[in-house]
Amino acid sequence: MDIINHDILIVGGGGAGLRAAIAISQMSPSLKTAVISKVYPMRSHTVAAEGGSAAVLNDDDTHDLHAYDTIKGSDYLADQDAVEVFVRDATNEVRQIERWGCPWNREEDGTIAARWFGGMSRKRTLHAADKTGFHLLHALFQTSLKFDTLKRYDEWHVCALLVDNGKVGGVLALNTRTGVFSILSAKAVILCTGGVGRMYAFTSNAGIKTADGAALTYRAGGPIKDMEFIQFHPSGLMRTGILITEASRGEGGYLFNKDGKRFLENYAPSKMELAPRDIVSRSIIEEILAGRGFKGTYGSYIHLDLRHLGEAKIMEKLPMVRELCLDFAGMDPVYDPIPIRPTMHYTMGGIHCDKDGKTPMPGLFSAGEAACVSIHGANRLGSNSLTELLVFGARAGRTAVEYVSTAKPVSADKLQSLAKDRMDFIQKRYMKAGNGKEKIGAILSELRKTMDEKVGIYRTEEPLKEAIQIIQKLKERFNKITLTQQSRVFNTELTAAMELDNMLEIAHVIAMCAQVRKESRGGHARKDYPTRNDEQFLHHSLTYQGKDGPRRETFPVTITKWQPEERKY
């Protein structure tokens, strides 16, 4: 098999991957660095982030306040040393992306403007209208083009990490354009592959968010962390789950039930609509369960009302919300309230790594939604994730540069034999001309239904156990899939099969960790264990692939100066 040699390989061309790539290209232009992505980088899901990016810029704000808000938001599961690094680096990173062309909205004097966001005690969410992720991604991508030394593999699909005695030496990858598999060797691999969203049916996530990084790590023997913590965003557009940004509440929008009441006063009276996402999402579900939702073709919903903001403000601050409502819900928020319900949005858990992006496996690094540092703990505050991409993308890039200065590559012979094993596995598992009757689409829709119904906003013991059983059955059914085609060029049926396999593997971990964690913390809400239990569960879940399924260990949470207290808003 062909081997293409590199020093550092970044998997994923979204915000974190590109920020890492730029950091490396600036620090060490002589290194052979490449970004490998299953889509063109500007298609990555960072593009869909809307509301903003949090950082301390104003005089009335401090890094400690941002850290405290983040830690309280995390329900005390965040690692506080990492959060302190995060808020400090954030200030520089948002200015850096400004210098690279990001069109941040401005104050009258031409300095960067900020808006309110959920769980933030100061106005610190910088924004480029409500297309912040779009602008940030394009600024990063376009800036990355100036580095001639940075190579890209666009529309290549990573199938496996190549690991020799625990040390990562590269990846086995499929060039979808040609259908040819190659070895891309590297002394360091940085996984920036995003989250797991597509295993849920009602999600804001793009089609490409298929748990790839977590699954690659897990199969290669590495641990993944805190996978039970899934964020449901309060405002998903009915039918599609498309995101309507939290900025619509940050700019003054209200949530109403069918009785015309701003019901948040019963759940988070001091913050109202700007309480953190886990709390607002649960409040909406409570209202719907109590019969105070509106009824529609696609189920019950509540109203997000922006009408009082007026057309001018909506066009200035929330133009994308209006565009999305017109294009995907056939209504205009200037004149009508928006029908919404909570939508699966973000994966707090991910590849276990530290504040420098380092995983326990030599040569493996991670950043962005794929990673779990953890700064978000059990619940991420809105607008901390775009900042996270910048801060930890850059940090992981720099750490990798340092690592490769002394690391030895895995030998070509060894890589060939590792790749051959993986190739045999892929041939057998996905490309066999089998006689199974199972279809990718059918297994995927059952997985998504199961996750929505049994591993959703509220969880209880029995449904979680059922979910685990169903997922195990789906895994068995997966063994009987047959692709309808064996052709090479752009075989999206083959890549869809690999993605589904990734999601099944990680869904199992999510359901299992959710079942073991018998407490309610942040985004993990157990109906049967409704309170937080610090004595038994103030720890991270670390999960490894075991012989008969996931094997769970625990890992301590780092607390520096903010002792856990009751989380109330």
């Binding site: 889509v39 995101l243 994308m320 995907f328 689409g441 052709s487």
Partner: protein, 247 residues
């Protein structure tokens, strides 16, 4: 009986045959389904080999552009109900080489994108990474280029452009608009570096002002107007440099 709609798609698999074919699928009709929903239905239920690109399904990633009844559109935000009860024909974006079925080759576009130097250029290079403070930029200054930042690189404008169809060397609408975006950003000082490319033989002067690019742009970037403004700007620049005796 439930309502149905017919979708005819282009099929092409270079592994198997050299020629394009078409295939017609009949799918259930829902008045709130996008064309992309229809294609996803075909792939999941009827034919797993149908090949096309998509990702965000909210009109911002730029992946799912195709010819819909002859016009370049984003299929995620174009609805079956616009055509029902008529039939729908989906073809790969015009003017690009076809890789397979509805997937086209964007290599040429990606190369041109880089060539226009779409990044902030400063005379003093250390400005580019100075994070001690932001550049000051007023909203009025931002308004001079903001509309052109909204391009999602969906390449619908290339599929619509008759000049690009005839002369594939033409830089094309989106890339010229991107050059304009940086040239008119008060933080940028790289206009001179971009001029050679934008005002080259294959640059703005090739445009014959058909205006189809602006017509089909889903984000109102208005490349056509921008190309004309860039022409004026370059002509003026040429005139002044002539006066100063540079040419």
């Amino acid at each position: 009986m439930a309502e149905e709609i017919k979708i005819t798609v282009t099929r092409y698999n270079p592994d198997k045959e050299a020629e394009l074919k078409t295939q017609t699928f009949t799918i259930p009709y829902h008045n709130d389904w996008s064309i992309l929903d229809g294609l996803n239905y075909i792939k999941a239920e009827l034919d797993g080999t149908l090949t096309y690109r998509w990702s965000c399904r909210m009109a911002v990633c730029g992946s799912c552009g195709m010819m819909v009844n002859g016009t370049p559109r984003l299929t995620c935000s174009t609805y079956l109900n616009e055509f029902y009860p008529g039939e729908i024909t989906i073809e790969p974006l015009a003017n690009f080489p076809i890789i397979r079925d509805l997937v086209v080759d964007l290599t040429d576009f990606m190369d041109k994108l880089k060539e226009v130097k779409p990044w902030i250029i400063r005379k003093n290079k250390s400005d580019e990474n100075d994070t001690s403070k932001e550049y000051i930029q007023t909203t009025a200054q931002m308004d001079k280029y903001y509309q052109q930042t909204l391009c999602i690189n969906c390449t619908l404008c290339y599929a619509a452009c008759p000049v690009y169809g005839l002369h594939p060397d033409f830089i094309g609408p989106a890339v010229i608009a991107l050059g304009y975006r940086y040239n008119n950003d008060s933080r940028d000082q790289g206009k001179d570096e971009r001029r050679k490319f934008l005002a080259s033989e294959d640059g703005v002067w090739k445009c014959t002002v058909v205006g189809d690019c602006t017509e089909v742009c889903p984000k109102h970037v208005d490349p056509s107007a921008v190309i004309q403004r860039t022409k004026v700007d370059n002509a003026t620049n040429w005139f002044f440099s002539f006066l100063k005796g540079k040419k």
